[in-house]
Amino acid sequence: MSHHIVELKGLSFHYPDGTPALDSIDLTIHHGESVGLVGANGAGKSTMLQHLCGVHVPQTGRVRVGDVPVVPSTLNEVRRTVGLVFQDPDDQLFMPTVAEDVAFGPLNIGLPPEEAALRVDQALAQVDALHLKHRPPHRLSGGEKRAVAIATVLACSPDILVMDEPSANLDPRSRRLLIELLRGFKHTKILATHDLDMVLDLCERTVVLHQGRVMADGPTAAIFADHDLLAACALEPPLRMQGCPLCGRCN
């Protein structure tokens, strides 16, 4: 299904103050893949994700989502295909109630209110948050906000789910629930995160970014086993691969 392929060719990006963020990125992600995007702070992970849904448009190079190039005239189409879950759920939940927030996307793409309401129920049920439907977002816990933020994107039925630091600020139980939830999704998933254990759980493929460049791209287990590579990119192996802290042997 070629229409779900994400392709970045020679993508470079500078912020308005001249700070370079991405430098000649070449990357292809195929339909159904789960890809972890890892790197130190400032490596360019969030900027790259924001190119996938048109928050930024390429300054140099090109980005394609399926057959559609990401350019200002195609942003509506791109945003129907790619759903971005922001790092801070408070940025994503802006409507007075959870139900209205989840309905925001479906109504904007022109669905009638009855169908939008159905999508709201389905999306909230998928993330086990139907009971929060009538609550205002400022009355939710961190984990609940994260679940609802995912529901806001699921309600738009995207083919590709893009998440920026999905496990940030979650307690261990909420994090585990999120991993189980994401594991159940059949979407193409792209996760930018510092949580390498989560990548190990969810992604068969990992891309390592460092100073705006792709330093490595391959099977997750192989990438995380390369300690020199990780150290060069200011990363550490996932805790699970660091061995027992008491006896020093591997788990």
Binding site: L75, F86, D91, Q92, F104, N108, P136, P137, T152, C156
Partner: protein
């Protein structure tokens, strides 16, 4: 009252708005319209007409009682506005020294009356606004304003103001806590520190506004705010509510009820004494 306590009390308004009373069930437009009429009729009284403001207190009080809103909460919230109100009117007694009334040694000047009037009006207006939110819900008030013709741009600003009030207040609290952690003694922030805190908060707000806008664009925002909820009906109960309170407002605006009540004992005494009642003006 600390910022966290203030936030907690605002959240309580949300809880109160979720109640299910006859008043809560009314279409929000009826409550908003009557509240607007109330504000116009109350605020349009002359600046020296202090006693005529008193009957206006019946509207927020009765609504609070009917809607199960604790009066203590209302008074505490309304009291928060007092410093600003006092600041607005504090110079009136100094500027307007025309004597309006002399009670023995006590001289009441126009400035004193107008200052009292400003304080009373403000308290009544704030209390009424709080009651409206507590028996309707802030989002429903916004929605009603939209259906009554308020421009969408203003409406969205209002909705976002309320939504992000909590997020910003939480950020401000975190910054204040971080400051306290690094203070040798628990002193109040200096003007310089307040300036830095507010500046930081403003920058964070700008950043957040950008991110929220991006999140909206990602879900197809095109300048209009879609509305999922079914529209409620303006039925008989709403017309009755408007008619009753409309008549009340008309009465307290046109008639000087406190004066008539004050005249009543004299009138009765005069009648009992067989005097001609026409002498009582």
């Amino acid at each position: 009252m600390g910022l966290d306590t203030a936030l907690h009390e605002i959240r309580r308004l949300d809880d109160l708005a979720a109640q299910d009373t006859a008043l809560h069930r009314l279409d929000a437009r009826a409550k908003v319209l009557v509240t607007l009429a109330y504000l116009v009729s109350m605020l349009s009284l002359g600046r020296y007409e202090v006693s005529r403001l008193l009957p206006f207190a019946a509207f927020p009080l009765l609504l609070a009682v009917q809607g199960g809103v604790p009066l203590g909460l209302l008074l505490r919230r309304a009291a928060l506005a007092l410093p600003f109100v006092v600041f607005v009117g504090i110079f009136n007694p100094l500027i307007d020294r025309n004597v309006h009334l002399t009670l023995g040694p006590l001289v009441i000047t126009g400035g004193m009356l107008s200052f009292t009037s400003i304080v009373l009006r403000s308290l009544l207006a704030v209390t009424t606004g709080l009651v409206l939110v507590a028996v309707t819900g802030f989002d429903q008030v916004c929605r009603a304003l939209g259906r009554l013709g308020m421009p969408t741009a203003l409406l969205v600003q209002l909705q976002f103001l309320y939504r992000y009030l909590f997020v910003l207040a939480d950020e401000a609290l975190r910054m204040l806590h971080a400051r306290v952690q690094r203070c040798a003694k628990n002193s109040r922030p200096s003007l310089h520190e307040y300036r830095a805190l507010l500046g930081n908060l403003l920058l964070r707000t700008l950043d957040r506004a950008g991110r929220v806008h991006q999140a909206m664009l990602c879900r197809g925002f095109d300048g209009t705010m879609p509305d999922l909820r079914p529209t409620s009906r303006f039925g008989l109960a709403e017309w009755r509510f408007c008619a009753i309170w409309g008549l009340f407002l008309l009465a307290v605006r046109i008639l000087n009820i406190p004066q008539h009540l004050g005249d009543l004992p004299l009138y009765l005494a005069a009648k009992a004494g067989g005097l001609f009642p026409g002498v009582l003006k």
